[in-house]
Symmetry: D3
Subunit: 329 residues, 6 copies
């Protein structure tokens, strides 16, 4: 089995219990997550060998983040220790017409202030077959943009498959810089995923085209092997529907659509990325790939926290048609 | 900014966690609320200066109720301390076909046994522009009915706008006494709100007319400036739809209707009253008033406890059409 | 009032809080239940005198199970103490497309290793009018199958009404043994309940017939006084609809159908059995019997844990048409 | 085995978790207890047949109190249902130099407003050998004083042993009325227990005599069979030492003294009373009686809540000298 | 009543429950505190009018800090809103030989990055009689040192009494800078408190003198009206003894010494400062002042969180000799 | 760095919160531990490479045990999956004179039913320098005794240092079998630790000799390189003192004695074993070895759960004399 490597920021997330608002909380639930860390944990839960790369301070709270990754089997040996703080954010769950509320406090985190020389990509990619990152990583700082570029170049050179989750965050950068930066990185990518809006921002042309047209342009523009677009309709804080389309440069593959009752809105896209990578590296057929990715991420929405704790068997059960939640006994 | 004054009873509410029934509870969640106290807290959250009037014993539990009001910025200096007990009730949350269950223990509370001379309305209304109360306050005791009458008369004399939430409680008084008592109080009111049934009880004529007819009669009979009727359909303990109509003596204004997944059934009407008062005192247009009042109270249903913890910005976001619960990040 | 007796296994159930998965749990909620114990507790909550029969070790955890039964008024004096362990299982709640997950650890429990001579049925059935058990009890061990047969024979001889909940569990026995064993026991039964599939297994003929045909064959084959079939459609882990049909050898009685938001999927059938027994022993009409049984079990789904904590009044309120969850105050 | 009967008030106790003060509590732990109810539960845990007598309203919270008694095997069939409320109190745990803090809200409870005709003592005492009450019961109301007198007279007439825990509460009555009322009741008692101060109040003479002198006077004045005095030194909210002396009219028996780290200060005396009654009714020797009573109540201090959950074996282990808390494994 | 003003940083403190270590925590308890905020809350609990000055960002978490202050009656109107983040720290409770463990993340908080022009001292000190700060405030940033100097100068000019808690923190500044900065501020102070080591650092001479000598030098060097030194011996994480000496330029006043079982080690000195200020502004005698300050801070150690929730009556009870933790009932 | 290998049983431990008794628990805290697993986790926390060997079923609860090991960095790749159940036990914390109470349910666990051929010791010991086990492992079953013998023989042959914690458990085997079995295993051991009683059982001669004599005989009889005896006095469930003596065949080394306030009584000996192994493999001096082992295990007692979460730095701080629990800030 070859290793998958992901690079990004892992943060401490502090959430009031249940439907409580911040001002009602006497305690905050602690989760540790971040887009690429979530991908790593999900892949480990699927049985893949996966190494997570970031920089974290040498203190006891950052150690908790590492413990959480290790708990699920993620390799953490190549995480760089140093810097002053782990980024964090506060997240109040939404419900019905009330949206989730996020207060970010991630500035000047160890990874945001990391230096290019902190990472030895040759060593990190030893024995690896895949590298994954999201659009958040290059947005953390100018140096992080360079670190990400170092990583994709090195990965490409060493023959790894490179995947990107576009993951545009308006709090982290403006649309123009995003498009420019992402376009450079996409040169080195084989697999890309995102929403319609994100794909259009990456392509940089008109807006409002249909999904297949966008996918086609996307694949052609960047010479991708696979591109997928997630189609999500959000009705309230707890009701979404969720499906996706895969394009391999030749054909379009549509997944089943799920009507989801959301327990936790964080990490759906990350679960999709992980399921997609699992499915591709496990040599599933194209139709199976998009079904596995969609079913896998559907299940994430039913779980607390950032990460998808599903096993391959659980995803397959749903993918093969049983979404009835029947108890086996 | 002028002060808003509300008068009523604040109780300790004891609720089992989540869906637990009383007999399963090892702990009770403690909330402090009451119709007019809930209005006060919501108005304080909207940034208004608001003073809450009641009588509470000089013990540590009543102090907790005061602390909870202060926490959200409500002025509590004019609360009278004395008497023997704070009223309380036990409330088991409902779910699906199972209704919420309430066990009241509010008899002989400090406010129910308060005397007219406990309250110096001239002093209380200094610097105030608005006085609000609900039909519960005069129902607490014969003396409370007199205290309420003292208050509305004084308020009227001092030129305050007076609002009433009809709030008929069959556990507190019979329909005939309610109608008689409320009718006397309505003489001094400018703004009134309630359900169809409550408005019809106040008017004292036939039952079963349409909403606009009732509103018209209501406004005319009592010379109101504004009357609103809340239209709620309850399907199960967690599913309601919710809208309202405002009548200003000339035109009818209908609000958007919300399909709500209910977290906590207590305090929806109080949130409506607070949002209505905020919207009127903030000089919104009539259509905006009813939209703000409806959206504001819709959000309450998604929160634990008696009070609406929404900010003006959160209500405006929903009122302006985004009820999708989308996370901003 | 005459006594109702039930026989079975009570287990410790360990469940993560809320939607947490096993790997996220720092604590497990402890429930004590089992099909026939659940029936006993529900009947006690309905005000019936009910005695529960099982074997439990003489340790502090088994004592907790007995305490839980006593708490709700179930008679536990005839429970045999001895053996080494109380059976247990781990149960992770499901949500949306994610099913509940059960890990059983019930092997070699005290009741599974009990001996026929542990139970003195003459003494146990003193003053009793009804004996109830489910298809799980004879499946626990070969000796348990004999114990169950002893019980039904003794009950029959002493003139008790005997009821069976078919309750096929594929983890406990294969379909052929189940059919054979159950058929023998059904000889001694007056009242039987189950799903379509279970009734068909008991009858042992073709599959896929309509409900009424199955009921007719079922009653005729075993000379039953009453047979009921529960009709459940499961859409997701939290959405089921639920109704039932009663056949008395002459007429079919259909209950109202409920669309249920499920809090806890364990114990719905047990709540149905208890409500059915209550309704029959309370001499309700046939239509009332099936309505009471269906409404009673509908309410169970809104509660945490294995047991139905409804009172007769609560079931009657729902049965008489108020499923709106309206708070009375 | 003959039945023991106790009479008194059971209350809902609401306590913040751990060391939290009232103003920090988001939840209150719910305990159900009262002096004589605590005695009943402890005796049931010791394997005695015990019936608890009180009056409780027919609501769901009072039912929780009954459930808690039943859970431990106390007979509750003779509890009268009616009246409006269950008494309650709030109790904040103390620690170090900070004392526990109690806020009582027990006025007008169902038992305080009970009538003499509510209780049929002939029926209640059927099959009983012992009646126990404390000085709190007659203090609840004038009618309760009469009810208690009815009870002791009836018990005496029927040949039961009668025991009293003096339990003077300055919040419930003044010293003079206490002394007068208790003296009348003591005419009918065989066994009495209390502190030095309480015994002196009952005797009604000088203060400040030594323990044995007080015991001697106490036994002689009221013709008691056994009197015990508990000797407690309290150093801080969590540190007490605890021993007791028994006098049987002839000899004095001193128990071992325990240095106790207190988990919960409520119910030590009640645990002593229960252990004393157990030891006497189990025909232990006089020295064993006072050792069992002292060891049994020592253990109570290590438990949360009002009641002693010790078994006979656990008390015997401590009484026989092993207070080292060694784990057996 | 005249107002007391305190200036400093309030932080979010995140602590695992009970004795859990960081790596065991699934939740963090949230407290809001800081040296001068703790003083403000304690003074408000003593019934004083007190205004807290700081700068906090305009987000929902900072609002929680303000809510916590308001809950206890602290005036928060003069708090400046702006900046990016509220400082925070993680605090693991210690026990026995294991010390508490702190991980600070307070850099670049709103107050640390505040500007001198953010604060209008003339307006802030309107109606005030006392200004208090600690050695932490000037250590937050160079600008904060200037802000503190502005404050003391303005306070002095307006005739306020100025008090300082030396509060040296080795994480915030080196000993030399501390001494220099504190010495300048002490010119404007009337009342000072600290440990032996801190007083010696402020004086800037030899180390190892006896307490009275240090106090004498301290008062003389800075022309103080009152100086107090806290004498604490720490034996383990949960065992300290605690007393203090007051010097008024003429006489030395020694307080009673307390052997304390520590619940929470944070905030003892702040509780001392608040009790001292209360006692001085309430015109107690010098002996009473030091007894009140010592007893008040002793009680703090028995409470969770940073702040002293004692009332004046509770402190007086202890100060007058009852530290036995006896429950009054 | 060379690997340390430990072999044993890891169980799920279920404990009521705080001081609650089993019958009060609505939830059980879940810990995963066992003597040798605890040693492994502590060594991993000290930064050692350590692999834990056991057999666990392929279910979700056993996976939680593995996750817990991985969380702290223990290598779990060589754990054999299979069998039916993970062993478990219920543990009620003791307090004051009340001892902790354990209910074991570990029979027929996967490891107890494991076969010799499940383990490939050549592969397991690849790259290892040390093998550790306790007297519990061979007691699990006759096959486990053989597995343990296989392991020590293989370890010896491959040149590993072998250590044994005698750990006699009277619930698992009788004294005679223990002595016989342990004596055989001790032939292959280099380092041994235990209590006086355990060492005497292993030696098999007279009882009641002094510690040094026992140590001397122990080392001589089995040709040990190091033997240590832990000297513990237990006063109550929360008070123990704790020290130890090391003998290297030439000299005796006594450690400092600690008076400990116990949070959790499980795992003290395991923490000692881990600290001892750390100290020896880190080439500390003999005096440092025994001080490190004693200080490391002292700290364990202040933590919830079975395992020592101390870092090397924390142990060194205590070992170097600072047990005052002073907060560094």
């Amino acid at each position: 089995m070859s290793k998958i490597v992901t690079l990004g920021e892992i943060m401490l997330r502090l959430s009031p219990e249940g439907y409580d608002r911040f001002s009602q909380a006497k305690q905050f639930n602690a989760f540790y997550g971040g887009s690429e860390a979530n991908v790593a944990v999900s892949l480990a839960n699927f049985g893949k060998e996966v190494s997570y790369i970031t920089k974290l301070p040498a203190n006891a709270i950052a150690q908790c983040a590492i413990n959480e990754l290790r708990k699920y089997g993620v390799l953490t040996n190549d995480i760089v220790r140093g810097g002053e703080r782990i980024g964090l954010y506060f997240c109040e769950n939404g419900e019905s017409q009330r949206p989730a509320k996020l207060v970010y406090d991630r500035k000047d985190s160890a990874i945001a202030k990391a230096k290019r020389e902190d990472f030895d990509w040759d060593k990190i990619f030893e024995g690896a077959e895949w590298f994954h990152f999201s659009g958040i990583t290059p947005a953390l700082s100018e140096e992080c943009a360079k670190i990400t570029l170092d990583a994709v170049k090195s990965a490409k050179k060493k023959g790894l498959t490179v995947s990107i989750d576009l993951n545009y965050r308006e709090n982290l950068w403006d649309a123009t810089t995003f498009s420019k930066s992402i376009r450079e990185l996409l040169q080195y990518c084989d697999v890309a995923l995102g929403s319609m809006e994100e794909a259009e921002m990456a392509i940089g042309e008109g807006i409002g085209e249909d999904c297949n047209t966008v996918l086609k342009k996307f694949v052609e523009k960047f010479g991708l092997k696979y591109a997928t677009i997630i189609l999500r309709n959000r009705f309230t804080a707890e009701d979404v529907d969720w499906t996706a389309v895969l394009y391999d440069g030749k054909d379009f593959y549509n997944a089943k659509k799920y009507d989801i009752h959301v327990v936790d809105n964080i990490g759906g896209g990350d679960a999709f990325a992980a399921s997609l990578i699992y499915a591709i590296t496990s040599k599933l057929s194209n139709q199976e790939i998009i079904e596995f990715a969609t079913a896998g991420s559907c299940l994430k929405y039913s779980m607390n926290g950032d990460v998808n704790l599903s096993t391959v068997e659980e995803v397959e059960t749903l993918m093969n048609g049983d979404g009835s939640g029947k108890v086996s006994r």
